[in-house]
Symmetry: C2
Subunit: 436 residues, 2 copies
């Protein structure tokens, strides 16, 4: 049906995240055959994952079918596939559905949670980088609340009602805010057996501030909001260990808890076969100024898995959606230019600023020189996230959920659809969950 | 916090389905302590399960948190629990969270799929009686479409694209219609590699008509709609075996297929400890005219798990929501009467009629003597199901999804959130699914 594409050069894109889908979009109606590979059949809108984790939004509201998104793009084939390795000498990607030859390859595999080699923390704490992980986290939180009401004493309940968030970046801050709102507005309604004060939320970071990359003004405001909402913010604190029952810090303190959520770092997901010499800090692939992998002619890497090291960006660009989107757009255009024999254009990051939300009426906006916090920042945060969501249906449904939550102080469905089994925590992204 | 309830009689309700929640509702503000047990923390609106299975609706739209539903009902305690047995001599329910004494007990455990003892069919075919099962079914359908496009020949693709629905009751008919619409409107958009004609939907029943309990007029109309939509309706056909690759019928015919969906029968879920002598056909507990379990003073059974055998209802009442709701309402009131020493009232079923939908603009309404089919029946079907759904948010979200589907011919998100592993099909309700 699509065999007439065989006369065109083949562009293989690995990963349907923000960067990958932008490349595909740029190549629509161009004389190329595009093959998009992803291990899921959907795109994840990661900035709202934390709302899936706390049950405010359904997973399907922040995910969008890749097939549906590209309906009508005649030069695209989509396949659910796991890449096993890249053979850059033979120009072939090896996958669990067979080898796929390419003329141009775009690695847009994103990042995963970085546990910095601590196996115990990896085993017992919860990451939140994908929809299955966010759902596992949701079920764990709800199950531990259910577990708590079965315990006869305050001491026995405490570890189930104590939530420790490690990493005070946007994910940690937004999760902390959400959990605090759950305690402040929902706990008494759903669990009249529990006293609000028994539920504790800690936000821990080894840096001296929350929202590290934000302005000091924004950071301070965020910390103020969190403290006011009842979150214990522990800064300049390094985690030493976690055994599933107690988290220990390097300063000697410790907290008994069954709920440690790890958002303290990410690292690139680099496929086998990429030259080890091109790997930078954070497991990212070094790319040149047109996003081409160091030492390669026809392989590109974009977004979280890529590091464009320049005098202006000695650590590469921040791991945010905007970088991936802009790199994806440029790469799609540059591949088209290369095919036509035209000169390529270099990457120039247009930083649109940063937004983070803490709770109702509370958000931080750092938009270049313009910085503000509070209700207006919160409106902007909602607006930007709504318009960025894929699909009209998703926009409407998320909007309704937000309005309902805002009015009722009681949003979210909080269902345990599939029981989460903590003893199977070894590898959570491929974690085995019980269906019933 | 709730210890002041201890002076009141305790009513334990097992199961938060249509019947169980009605009992709980009737006992609000009454001088009783109510304990509601369910293995899930949500109520399932079963009539729309098939739309979850075909991806038109999200699981959370047809489920509602039991805690949230009964917020503010001060005499209720809800627990997620599996009942292991009932000790009617000691008036205690044994569960996985410990023993729970009762003064009155209501068994509202509903029904599960009946495979009539055929172990192979149980092992390889898909049931659809719970949300996890409906999700497994959705993922299986989508995965088999993905699998099909990887096969080079029509013959190899066929079993993945052939759907055999066994049992032409409302569930089978509604699923057949949904799958036919998926083929007719979505397949070409999402899978341009596949020809529409390659996907086959069979609806099989050993009875001579579809929608057995409906009027002949309604049955005929439903069959006509299905045939017109391209469903192969096979009546008077009995299934002999299914080995995961080929379904065989007693008349010697067979169909190679990877997708057999079994909705050919249900049976009551009877807890251990119920007197075996009181079990009727379909594994249902025989009850008297006030829904009391035969031979018991203080144990009631309602809904799908109960059989009230009278001269007018020699097989008991139909296994539909209305029976459970009305039995639940009566039982709640009668328990209250018993406590107050007042005379109880007998059960009188008010049959409001039957509705079934086949697809857009196509439904069957049998409302007593009034029978009609088509667009108007379809509007009524939607209206009745919308108003019956729990929660304003769910009503709005389901309505938006239906409007979006109706306008676009392309509803549903069709995401494979958790991969379904067919080799683990042994017990599907507690089936192990892969998180990623």
């Amino acid at each position: 049906m699509m065999s007439d594409l065989s006369k065109f050069p083949t562009v293989v894109v690995i990963g349907g995240g923000f960067g990958g889908i932008e490349v595909v979009k740029q190549l629509a109606d161009k004389p190329v055959e595009v093959i998009l590979l992803d291990k899921h059949n959907y795109h994840t809108f990661q900035p709202l994952l934390y709302q899936v984790a706390t049950g405010s939004l359904e997973a399907e509201s922040i995910a969008f079918s890749l097939r549906k998104n590209f309906e009508g793009q005649k030069n695209l084939r989509f396949r659910i596939a796991e890449v096993t390795s890249i053979d850059s000498a033979a120009n072939v990607v090896h996958t669990d559905i067979g080898p796929i030859p390419y003329d141009y390859l775009v690695i847009a595999t994103g990042s995963t949670t970085n546990f910095f080699g601590n196996k115990d923390i990896e085993k017992y704490s919860m990451p939140m980088k994908s929809i299955p992980e966010a759902l596992n986290l949701r079920y764990m939180v709800l199950q531990n609340l259910e577990e708590a009401i079965l315990k006869p004493s305050k001491e026995e309940r405490a570890p189930y009602l104590t939530f420790v968030l490690v990493g005070a970046g946007p994910t940690g801050v937004e999760l902390a805010g959400s959990l605090a709102e759950l305690r402040n507005h929902v706990l008494n309604k759903d669990y009249p057996e529990l006293a609000k004060e028994e539920m504790k939320v800690y936000l821990v970071d080894f840096l001296p501030k929350v929202l590290g990359p934000f302005s000091d003004e924004g950071s301070k405001a965020a910390e103020g909001y969190l403290t006011k909402m009842g979150v214990d913010v522990l800064l300049n604190v390094k985690v030493q260990s976690y055994d599933g029952h107690e988290i220990k810090f390097e300063d000697g303190r410790s907290i008994p808890t069954r709920n440690v959520i790890w958002s303290a770092g990410v690292m690139g997901v680099v496929p086998e076969g990429v030259d080890k010499a091109s790997i930078e800090r954070g497991n990212r692939i070094r790319i040149d100024n047109i996003c081409r992998v160091a030492g390669s002619e026809n392989i590109f890497a974009i977004g979280d898995v890529a590091a464009m090291i320049t005098p202006e960006t000695p650590k590469g660009h921040p791991g945010v959606a905007q970088v991936a989107i802009q790199m994806g757009e440029l790469t799609g255009k540059n591949i088209n230019r290369l095919i036509k024999g035209e000169p390529t254009e270099p990457f120039k990051y247009n930083d649109k600023g940063s937004l983070a939300t803490i709770g109702r009426n509370k958000a931080i906006a750092d938009l270049g020189k313009i910085k503000f916090q509070g209700f207006f920042a919160w409106l902007i945060w909602m607006f930007v996230h709504l318009i960025s969501l894929m699909g009209g249906r998703n926009k409407i449904i998320v909007f309704i959920n937000w309005v309902a939550s805002y009015m009722s102080y009681n949003g979210g469905s909080r269902l345990i659809i599939r029981k989460f089994e903590p003893e199977q925590l070894v590898n959570k992204d491929t974690q085995v969950a019980q269906a019933d």
